[in-house]
Amino acid sequence: MTAVAPILAAHDVTVAYGDRRVVDAATFEVGGGERVALVGPNGAGKSSLLRAMTGVLRPSSGSVHLCGAPIDTVERSAVARTIAVVPELIQLPFEMPVHEVVALGRLPHEPPFTGLRTTDHLAVAGAMDRVGIAHLAHRDVRELSMGERQLVFIAVAVAQSAQILVLDEPTAHLDIRHQVDVMELLVDLNQRDGTTVVAVLHDLALAAHFFPRVAVLSGGRIVADGAPAATLGPEQIRSVFGVDPALVRLPVGAS
């Protein structure tokens, strides 16, 4: 599926907690400029695979390569300049204005001691604009709704201006309108800026509609990987998710 040389590649990655193998020898390659959705039932190992692929979790076996180099040999800040991650929802301990939180996305770029430079301020303002939260710049993040907070942390990752954007359920707390907005933002970042996008999604319809490639993770293994028409067919939905395919109306027939 990857026509381009992989920018991020997991080979035979196994993540085990005690005896339990959460990810079981999964191989998953992402090419530069791709837009990939990772789907699968709860407990399939999606988050663990992402954590291994972003270098914050050391796999029990297997290897992860970032731009051809083993990720554990790359300095943390260099990884952060290449991969931006939108984590699951974060609680902040103190009152903190949105623009200062978004500015944390510049951490891997800031030279030590000097603080934010003009380019950093521009990147922060640009990221807030693009995600559509410029009007919230001076609000306390803790006063925002769950959905708005989600957008703030997407803006943090956009401000990070990394080649690869990784999102773990970015639409979890959003209403349908914001879900579509975020999906369109991801498409735009991918097509206009060439950002590689990897997103864990629960909503199969969004995955099928907005992503040209959908990988299905089940029981810690990649069981299908390719165009949504092929990977989200009725038989996969029945076997992987255990539901009647008639309940899930996907726009794959059209594509």
């Binding site: 984590p87 301990p93 800031e110 922060v124 710049a137």
Partner: protein, 358 residues
């Protein structure tokens, strides 16, 4: 600049926002308060000395400048040998505790954290008490030993609390705080036991518990000041890491921070700043809790602003508290701090709109 570039609409928050955008103004005001409290702290006491004379002696002794005033040898001795070292010691310790408190609050992502919460200060006090019990008579070694043991005690207790309590990640903060409480209780019991077996040294160890600055002297200040100031500067240098760690371990790590490494360094620095102070003054509470709190309310949460301004405010606060302590009749300053600090903190808690999450 940070807020100015992006903040055309400050009306929404009025004065608070205006102040927040101008940390330099806040810093200047705090510095003026600090200078005034030096002059007041040195001038007031059982023997009153006027501000002219006070400034005259300090300028003459430090810079060799005479400003055309005369003073008695007694005034000079009171100012230079007794009060100035005490005031400066209060200031250095106050800033150390305040900066350490701000760092602990950031590291633990908890506004209730302070140099006491992880048993750090109690560990330092116990270490210092053990150093007092060791029969060494040579003055210089005694001071060195005091600081080394206090630092070792502080670091060890912080380390034990972190190991047993989990690093605080993934909702484990409550567990960490409870662990700190339990370890702190054990340390307090050990300190009591040290008092019990101390015999002739009882008074000195007892004063560690109460927290007082009667033991301040140039000789001790010269040992403690570089440690505390150095640790504070190094914490300020790592401000941005501290900001990043506010987002939690995983997110901080995604922003390029080597979480274990940074947290270890910041913890060691905060422990050092606490321990070097405790070795002289014993346990003084509430500076490390109240000061960062107030500063954060005024200038916002960014460590780049909170740490330096906490240092100045902490210095002014502890020297003022010590002045009160002396004027009331040489009460231990730890008692004054607790009597004034705790009600003030309660007042703050009542006023803050936002909720606190453990």
């Amino acid at each position: 600049m940070a807020a100015g570039a992006l903040a055309p609409d400050l009306d929404s928050h009025g004065v608070a926002a205006w102040v927040r955008g101008r940390p330099v103004v806040v810093g200047l005001v705090a510095t003026v308060v600090l200078l005034v409290s030096i002059v007041l702290g040195v001038g007031l006491g059982s023997v009153q000395i006027g501000p002219n004379e006070t400034v005259g002696v300090i300028l003459w002794k430090t810079l060799g400048v005479r400003i055309g005033l005369d003073w008695s040898a007694a005034s000079e001795a009171i100012i230079w040998d007794l009060r100035l070292p005490r005031v400066l010691t209060a200031m250095v310790i106050g800033s150390g505790l305040a900066v350490a408190g701000a760092t602990f609050q950031g590291l633990l992502r908890n506004p209730l954290a302070d140099p006491y919460v992880l048993g750090t200060a109690s560990g330092a006090a116990l270490g210092a008490a053990i150093a007092v019990l060791i029969p060494v008579q040579i003055v210089l070694i005694e001071f060195g030993l005091l600081h080394a043991f206090a630092f070792a005690g502080a670091l060890l207790s912080a380390y034990v609390v972190f190991r047993l309590g989990g690093s605080g990640g993934a909702g484990g903060l409550t567990r960490l705080l409870l662990t700190g409480y339990a370890v702190g209780s054990v340390l307090a019991a050990l300190l009591t036991m040290a008092m019990y077996v101390s015999g002739a040294d009882l008074r000195q160890i007892f004063s560690f518990l109460l927290g007082g600055l009667a033991g301040a002297s140039w000789a001790r200040l010269v040992v403690a000041a570089p440690l505390i100031i150095g640790a504070c500067v190094l914490m300020m240098v790592r401000s941005r890491s501290l900001d990043g760690l506010l987002l939690g371990d995983a997110a901080a790590s995604h922003l390029g921070i080597d979480v274990r490494h940074e947290r270890g360094i910041l913890l060691a620095l905060a422990s050092l700043a606490t321990a070097a102070g405790v070795a002289i003054s014993g346990l003084i509470g509430f500076v490390g809790l109240v000061v960062p709190h107030v500063v954060r309310l005024v200038v916002g949460p960014a460590a780049r602003r909170v740490l330096p301004i906490s240092a100045i405010v902490g210095a002014a606060l502890l020297s003022a508290a010590d002045l009160v302590a002396r004027l009331v009749g040489d009460v231990p300053v730890g008692v004054v701090m607790a009597l004034l600090g705790a009600p003030f903190f309660l007042f703050l808690l009542q006023r803050t709109r936002s909720s606190y999450e453990l």
